[in-house]
């Protein structure tokens, strides 16, 4: 298990390769469909949200209010491919070093990862409890009223958050490779 700690660096991310299992500690920001479209259309980040050298987590958590703060009840990844039209631009513009999600992303994101020293980190979809246990604190939330709870930007402090590198900064994508291999296996069986 490779340890990744925020702030994340160009060198650190370029040292990773497809298949590496990592444990992430530090700050993550959530952002999913509405946030991506908003930023892509020129929206600005709210005060206190800085994505430079950071990791964006494709996640819409279940969060309950507790003692004047928040408690994350469940927080697994959502499907990333929906953000493919927006992700490359957001990596470039905001200086992301990593994107956590599930299901992988396409060629434009892969190219942005190569160009800007970013990786795609695959968390286990559906594993909302194991991943919520890694969230030690909710530091803040933006756009809660405007976008609704699942679509808001949650700032999370995490420890030992497990993920697998499935798209690296060297142009390799596990998803492309598995698609091609499974397609050729299927053709043999039709």
């Amino acid at each position: 298990m490779i340890q990744l700690t925020s702030p994340f660096t160009d060198d650190g991310m370029r040292a990773l390769k497809v298949g590496d299992e990592v444990a992430i500690s530090g700050t993550l920001f959530t952002g999913r469909d509405v946030v991506h479209k908003y930023l892509h259309e020129g929206g600005s980040l709210p005060a206190g949200v800085n994505l430079r050298d950071g990791i964006l987590y494709h996640c819409g958590p279940v969060v309950l209010p507790e003692n004047g703060g928040w408690r994350v009840v469940a927080a697994g990844p959502t499907t990333s491919s929906r953000e493919e039209p927006y992700q490359a631009q957001i990596i470039e513009k905001f200086g992301l070093r990593g994107v956590i999600g599930k299901g992988g992303m396409g060629a434009r994101t892969l190219e942005a990862c190569r160009k800007f020293g970013c990786v795609y980190l695959h968390a286990v979809g559906g594993a909302a409890q194991v991943l919520a246990e890694c969230i030690k604190k909710v530091r803040g939330v933006s756009f809660l009223e405007q976008f609704g709870s699942p679509e808001a930007i949650w700032e999370l402090e995490v420890e030992q958050f497990p993920a697998v590198v499935t798209m690296d900064a060297h142009g390799r994508s596990l998803h492309q490779e598995i698609f091609a291999a499974s397609q050729s296996e299927l053709i043999k069986r039709l």
């Binding site: 509405v34 279940v62 469940a74 697994g76 299901g103 979809g125 409890q129």
Partner: protein, 292 residues
């Protein structure tokens, strides 16, 4: 609060937090099949731990608590209007308690009012039966797996899928290939051959009420189910699309009549976090027994 409302809140809680036994057994079985030290094995171990943790903490297995689909078999004379109103209240309450995410969005305005109640949410399929008790089945189906569902209108030249069972097989396997890991595999397929665009999908979802280890009583469909399951697991897509031996845990196929002009094959993909539960209600609407 009514007894029915209490029963439905408990049904929602358990569906959201606890995987049915048949599914957990299948996931455990697949864990033993994957090669040690692979990322597929790591993913399944994490899934296994997640299942235990969700149950122990009585919290959602997956944060996407999904479309709320009730299937109600009720005696003749049930007041469906009152029942539906109670079910909506139960959904509101389950959401406040965190058993369900605030998961229902106005498609026109984008507003999420946080209640999970609105047009189409929850969805309730009522069906009368000649028995004195009510059976309620609930499926919580997340958006990731719903998005990889697919409907094929045969024939499809590009897939060489004609209007026969071999063509249905090609269509279903194409859905598996296209889904890769995006639906949170290892997955379970509900399939309907026939029907129209709406009834086809609905019937495909109804297949997800079957037990994983049951067998289809129609020999041709049983053969198709076993064949697709075996073939899909030879493709190497694996858990989460990480590569590996377990791509699907089950395939369930139903049939509806079709029009001469239409031949739909509708595929609903269910994620490993197969939230399906059911209860038989007593005369006072308390939970008499669990169905899964």
């Amino acid at each position: 609060m009514s007894c029915l409302q209490d029963s439905l809140v408990e049904l929602i809680r358990r569906a959201s937090a606890e995987i049915p036994d048949d599914v957990q057994r299948a996931i455990l079985g697949s864990l033993h099949q994957e090669k040690q030290g692979t990322i597929a094995e790591s993913a399944l171990k994490l899934i296994e731990r997640n299942i235990e943790l969700a149950k122990a903490k009585s919290q959602p297995i997956c944060q996407d608590t999904g479309s709320i689909l009730f299937f109600v078999d009720a005696p003749v004379g049930l007041d469906q209007i009152a029942w539906e109103e109670t079910a909506r209240e139960a959904v509101r309450q389950a959401t406040q308690r965190g058993y369900l995410r605030q998961n229902s969005v106005d498609s026109l305005t984008g507003v999420n009012d946080g209640t999970n109640v609105g047009p189409g949410s929850p969805t309730i399929h009522f069906h009368q039966h000649r028995a004195p008790h009510t059976e309620v089945r609930l499926v919580l189906k997340g958006g990731g797996c719903e998005n990889v569902g697919a409907q094929y209108a045969l024939p499809i030249e590009a897939l060489k899928a004609n209007r026969d069972l071999a063509g249905c097989r090609r269509a279903v396997l194409d859905a598996v290939l296209q889904a890769q890991g995006k639906g949170c595999g290892p997955g379970i397929l509900g399939v309907c051959i026939g029907g129209d665009r709406a009834t086809g999908y609905e019937h495909s979802k109804r297949q997800l009420l079957r037990l994983l280890d049951d067998r289809n009583p129609v020999p041709a469909l049983d053969e198709l189910e076993q064949d697709v399951l075996k073939t899909a697991n030879e493709l190497g897509i694996g858990p989460m699309g990480f590569g590996g031996k377990t791509t699907l845990l089950g395939v369930k196929v139903g049939v509806l009549n079709r029009l001469p002009a239409s031949f739909f094959v509708s595929v609903s993909y269910m994620c490993w976090a197969y939230r399906r539960q059911g209860v038989t209600l007593g005369a006072d609407d308390s939970i008499r027994n669990w169905l899964y």
